[in-house]
Protein backbone atom coordinates (compact mmCIF):
# COMPACT_ATOMS: atom_id res chain seq x y z
CA UNK A 1 0.00 0.00 0.00
CA UNK A 2 1.39 3.41 -0.95
CA UNK A 3 1.45 6.41 1.35
CA UNK A 4 -1.36 7.99 -0.68
CA UNK A 5 -3.53 4.92 -0.22
CA UNK A 6 -2.82 4.87 3.53
CA UNK A 7 -3.61 8.56 3.79
CA UNK A 8 -6.97 8.05 2.04
CA UNK A 9 -7.75 5.25 4.47
CA UNK A 10 -6.96 7.47 7.44
CA UNK A 11 -8.97 10.44 6.19
CA UNK A 12 -11.98 8.26 5.40
CA UNK A 13 -12.54 7.43 9.07
CA UNK A 14 -15.33 9.10 11.02
CA UNK A 15 -14.50 11.13 14.15
CA UNK A 16 -15.67 8.23 16.26
CA UNK A 17 -13.44 5.80 14.40
CA UNK A 18 -10.48 8.16 14.71
CA UNK A 19 -10.98 8.37 18.45
CA UNK A 20 -11.08 4.59 18.64
CA UNK A 21 -8.00 4.37 16.43
CA UNK A 22 -6.13 6.77 18.71
CA UNK A 23 -7.02 4.51 21.65
CA UNK A 24 -5.66 1.51 19.79
CA UNK A 25 -2.43 3.37 18.93
CA UNK A 26 -1.94 4.45 22.54
CA UNK A 27 -2.43 0.89 23.76
CA UNK A 28 -0.07 -0.49 21.12
CA UNK A 29 2.61 2.01 22.10
CA UNK A 30 2.43 0.92 25.71
CA UNK A 31 2.58 -2.76 24.81
CA UNK A 32 5.42 -2.25 22.37
CA UNK A 33 7.55 -0.41 24.93
CA UNK A 34 6.91 -3.22 27.39
CA UNK A 35 7.99 -5.88 24.89
CA UNK A 36 11.43 -7.46 24.74
CA UNK A 37 13.83 -4.98 23.19
CA UNK A 38 10.86 -2.66 22.70
CA UNK A 39 10.62 -4.06 19.20
CA UNK A 40 7.57 -6.33 19.11
CA UNK A 41 5.72 -5.80 15.88
CA UNK A 42 2.22 -4.42 15.86
CA UNK A 43 0.97 -7.61 14.26
CA UNK A 44 2.54 -9.70 17.04
CA UNK A 45 0.90 -7.56 19.68
CA UNK A 46 -2.53 -7.75 18.05
CA UNK A 47 -2.22 -11.48 17.39
CA UNK A 48 -1.28 -12.06 21.02
CA UNK A 49 -4.43 -10.26 22.10
CA UNK A 50 -2.48 -7.48 23.79
CA UNK A 51 -4.67 -4.92 22.05
CA UNK A 52 -8.16 -5.44 20.72
CA UNK A 53 -9.05 -4.09 17.29
CA UNK A 54 -12.71 -3.77 16.40
CA UNK A 55 -13.81 -5.37 13.12
CA UNK A 56 -14.69 -1.99 11.60
CA UNK A 57 -11.11 -0.77 12.10
CA UNK A 58 -9.42 -3.98 11.12
CA UNK A 59 -8.59 -2.69 7.62
CA UNK A 60 -6.94 0.44 9.04
CA UNK A 61 -5.00 -1.62 11.55
CA UNK A 62 -3.96 -3.95 8.72
CA UNK A 63 -2.53 -0.98 6.79
CA UNK A 64 -0.63 0.08 9.89
CA UNK A 65 0.69 -3.45 10.43
CA UNK A 66 1.76 -3.71 6.81
CA UNK A 67 3.74 -0.49 7.02
CA UNK A 68 5.26 -1.50 10.35
CA UNK A 69 6.55 -4.67 8.69
CA UNK A 70 7.90 -2.93 5.61
CA UNK A 71 11.59 -2.32 5.41
CA UNK A 72 14.80 -4.28 5.89
CA UNK A 73 14.66 -6.42 9.00
CA UNK A 74 17.03 -6.42 11.94
CA UNK A 75 20.02 -8.56 11.12
CA UNK A 76 19.23 -8.43 7.43
CA UNK A 77 20.97 -6.70 4.54
CA UNK A 78 20.32 -3.04 3.85
CA UNK A 79 19.32 -1.64 0.47
CA UNK A 80 22.02 0.70 -0.71
CA UNK A 81 21.34 4.27 -1.71
CA UNK A 82 23.24 7.13 -3.31
CA UNK A 83 21.59 10.37 -2.32
CA UNK A 84 22.40 14.03 -2.77
CA UNK A 85 23.46 15.92 0.30
CA UNK A 86 21.67 19.17 1.07
CA UNK A 87 23.58 22.33 0.25
CA UNK A 88 26.24 20.37 -1.56
CA UNK A 89 26.94 18.73 -4.90
CA UNK A 90 28.13 15.68 -3.00
CA UNK A 91 26.24 12.39 -3.07
CA UNK A 92 26.49 9.95 -0.21
CA UNK A 93 26.53 6.18 -0.75
CA UNK A 94 25.24 4.25 2.27
CA UNK A 95 27.44 1.22 1.62
CA UNK A 96 30.57 3.37 1.79
CA UNK A 97 30.31 3.28 5.57
CA UNK A 98 30.42 -0.51 5.81
CA UNK A 99 33.40 -1.63 7.85
CA UNK A 100 33.98 1.95 9.02
CA UNK A 101 31.19 3.24 11.23
CA UNK A 102 27.52 2.65 11.99
CA UNK A 103 24.97 4.81 10.23
CA UNK A 104 21.96 6.26 12.02
CA UNK A 105 19.14 7.28 9.69
CA UNK A 106 16.23 9.58 10.44
CA UNK A 107 13.65 9.47 7.67
CA UNK A 108 11.16 12.30 7.69
CA UNK A 109 9.81 15.56 6.32
CA UNK A 110 8.91 19.01 7.58
CA UNK A 111 5.15 18.46 7.64
Amino acid sequence: MTKGERDRLMTSMSEEQRAEFRRIITALRVERKASVGRQASIRELVAAGKVEVSPELRHVAEALMERDETGPKVGGPVPDFYLKRLESDERVRLSSFQGKRPVALVFGSYT
Binding site: R38, G71, K73, L83, K84, V92, Q98, P102, V103
Partner: protein, 131 residues
Protein backbone atom coordinates in the same frame (compact mmCIF):
# COMPACT_ATOMS: atom_id res chain seq x y z
CA UNK B 1 17.49 13.69 19.17
CA UNK B 2 20.07 16.45 19.14
CA UNK B 3 21.44 15.13 22.42
CA UNK B 4 21.83 11.65 20.91
CA UNK B 5 23.57 13.16 17.90
CA UNK B 6 25.96 15.22 20.01
CA UNK B 7 26.79 12.21 22.14
CA UNK B 8 27.59 9.80 19.32
CA UNK B 9 28.45 11.86 16.25
CA UNK B 10 32.15 11.04 16.48
CA UNK B 11 31.49 7.32 16.23
CA UNK B 12 28.31 7.16 14.19
CA UNK B 13 27.42 8.75 10.87
CA UNK B 14 24.04 10.44 11.30
CA UNK B 15 21.85 11.48 8.41
CA UNK B 16 18.38 12.88 8.03
CA UNK B 17 16.91 11.42 4.85
CA UNK B 18 14.36 13.93 3.60
CA UNK B 19 11.41 12.21 1.93
CA UNK B 20 7.97 13.07 0.59
CA UNK B 21 5.87 15.37 2.74
CA UNK B 22 3.80 13.62 5.38
CA UNK B 23 1.00 16.20 5.41
CA UNK B 24 1.15 18.37 2.32
CA UNK B 25 -1.43 21.07 1.66
CA UNK B 26 -2.61 19.12 -1.38
CA UNK B 27 -2.91 15.88 0.54
CA UNK B 28 -3.74 14.84 4.08
CA UNK B 29 -3.30 18.16 5.83
CA UNK B 30 -3.53 18.14 9.63
CA UNK B 31 -4.36 20.83 12.20
CA UNK B 32 -0.84 21.01 13.60
CA UNK B 33 0.76 22.01 10.32
CA UNK B 34 -1.90 24.66 9.79
CA UNK B 35 -1.45 26.05 13.30
CA UNK B 36 2.32 26.06 12.97
CA UNK B 37 2.09 27.44 9.43
CA UNK B 38 4.19 24.64 8.02
CA UNK B 39 2.38 24.68 4.72
CA UNK B 40 3.95 22.92 1.76
CA UNK B 41 2.42 21.06 -1.14
CA UNK B 42 3.76 17.65 -2.15
CA UNK B 43 7.01 18.18 -4.00
CA UNK B 44 6.66 18.29 -7.75
CA UNK B 45 10.39 18.44 -8.52
CA UNK B 46 13.64 17.51 -6.88
CA UNK B 47 14.52 21.18 -6.59
CA UNK B 48 11.28 21.80 -4.71
CA UNK B 49 11.97 18.93 -2.35
CA UNK B 50 15.46 20.26 -1.74
CA UNK B 51 14.13 23.76 -1.06
CA UNK B 52 11.66 22.49 1.54
CA UNK B 53 14.35 20.33 3.10
CA UNK B 54 16.51 23.42 3.35
CA UNK B 55 13.73 25.37 5.07
CA UNK B 56 13.17 22.47 7.44
CA UNK B 57 16.86 22.22 8.27
CA UNK B 58 17.08 25.92 9.03
CA UNK B 59 13.81 26.28 10.94
CA UNK B 60 14.37 23.19 13.09
CA UNK B 61 18.11 23.80 13.44
CA UNK B 62 18.88 20.25 12.37
CA UNK B 63 22.37 19.43 13.62
CA UNK B 64 22.95 16.44 11.35
CA UNK B 65 23.55 16.39 7.59
CA UNK B 66 20.51 16.00 5.36
CA UNK B 67 20.24 13.73 2.34
CA UNK B 68 17.48 14.24 -0.23
CA UNK B 69 15.42 11.28 -1.47
CA UNK B 70 15.06 11.19 -5.23
CA UNK B 71 11.62 11.86 -6.66
CA UNK B 72 10.93 8.20 -7.42
CA UNK B 73 10.53 7.64 -3.64
CA UNK B 74 12.09 4.19 -4.00
CA UNK B 75 14.21 4.46 -0.84
CA UNK B 76 11.21 5.74 1.10
CA UNK B 77 9.09 2.77 0.02
CA UNK B 78 11.92 0.24 0.46
CA UNK B 79 12.60 1.34 4.01
CA UNK B 80 8.92 1.74 4.88
CA UNK B 81 9.92 5.21 5.89
CA UNK B 82 6.97 7.55 5.32
CA UNK B 83 6.08 9.60 7.21
CA UNK B 84 9.03 9.03 9.55
CA UNK B 85 11.22 6.23 10.79
CA UNK B 86 14.49 5.54 12.59
CA UNK B 87 17.11 3.03 11.53
CA UNK B 88 20.59 2.06 12.64
CA UNK B 89 22.92 0.28 10.25
CA UNK B 90 25.83 -1.56 11.82
CA UNK B 91 29.40 -1.55 10.52
CA UNK B 92 28.65 -5.00 9.08
CA UNK B 93 26.21 -3.32 6.72
CA UNK B 94 23.23 -4.99 8.34
CA UNK B 95 20.25 -3.52 10.13
CA UNK B 96 21.01 -3.09 13.82
CA UNK B 97 17.75 -1.32 14.62
CA UNK B 98 14.53 -0.76 12.73
CA UNK B 99 12.16 1.61 14.46
CA UNK B 100 8.44 1.22 14.49
CA UNK B 101 6.31 2.99 11.92
CA UNK B 102 6.33 6.67 12.79
CA UNK B 103 5.05 8.91 14.15
CA UNK B 104 3.12 6.77 16.59
CA UNK B 105 5.87 4.25 17.18
CA UNK B 106 8.83 6.57 16.99
CA UNK B 107 11.02 5.47 19.91
CA UNK B 108 14.10 7.59 20.50
CA UNK B 109 15.01 5.67 23.65
CA UNK B 110 15.14 2.35 21.84
CA UNK B 111 17.15 3.92 19.00
CA UNK B 112 19.61 5.39 21.46
CA UNK B 113 19.98 2.04 23.23
CA UNK B 114 20.73 0.41 19.89
CA UNK B 115 23.36 3.05 19.11
CA UNK B 116 24.92 2.58 22.54
CA UNK B 117 25.16 -1.13 21.86
CA UNK B 118 27.01 -0.41 18.62
CA UNK B 119 29.64 1.95 19.93
CA UNK B 120 31.64 2.91 22.95
CA UNK B 121 30.15 6.25 23.85
CA UNK B 122 32.40 9.26 24.26
CA UNK B 123 31.49 11.34 27.26
CA UNK B 124 30.75 15.03 26.85
CA UNK B 125 34.22 15.72 28.22
CA UNK B 126 35.64 14.06 25.13
CA UNK B 127 37.18 11.11 26.89
CA UNK B 128 36.31 7.59 25.76
CA UNK B 129 34.63 5.66 28.55
CA UNK B 130 36.01 2.31 29.64
CA UNK B 131 34.51 -0.63 27.70
Amino acid sequence: MEEIYRRFCEQVAFFVVYIQEAHPTDGWQVDSTVQEEVLYRQHQTFEEREAVAHACSLDLHLPMPVLIEDMDNVIDETFGAAPERLYLIGTDGRVAYRGGAGPHFFDLDAWEQAIEACVTPVSLSGKASDA
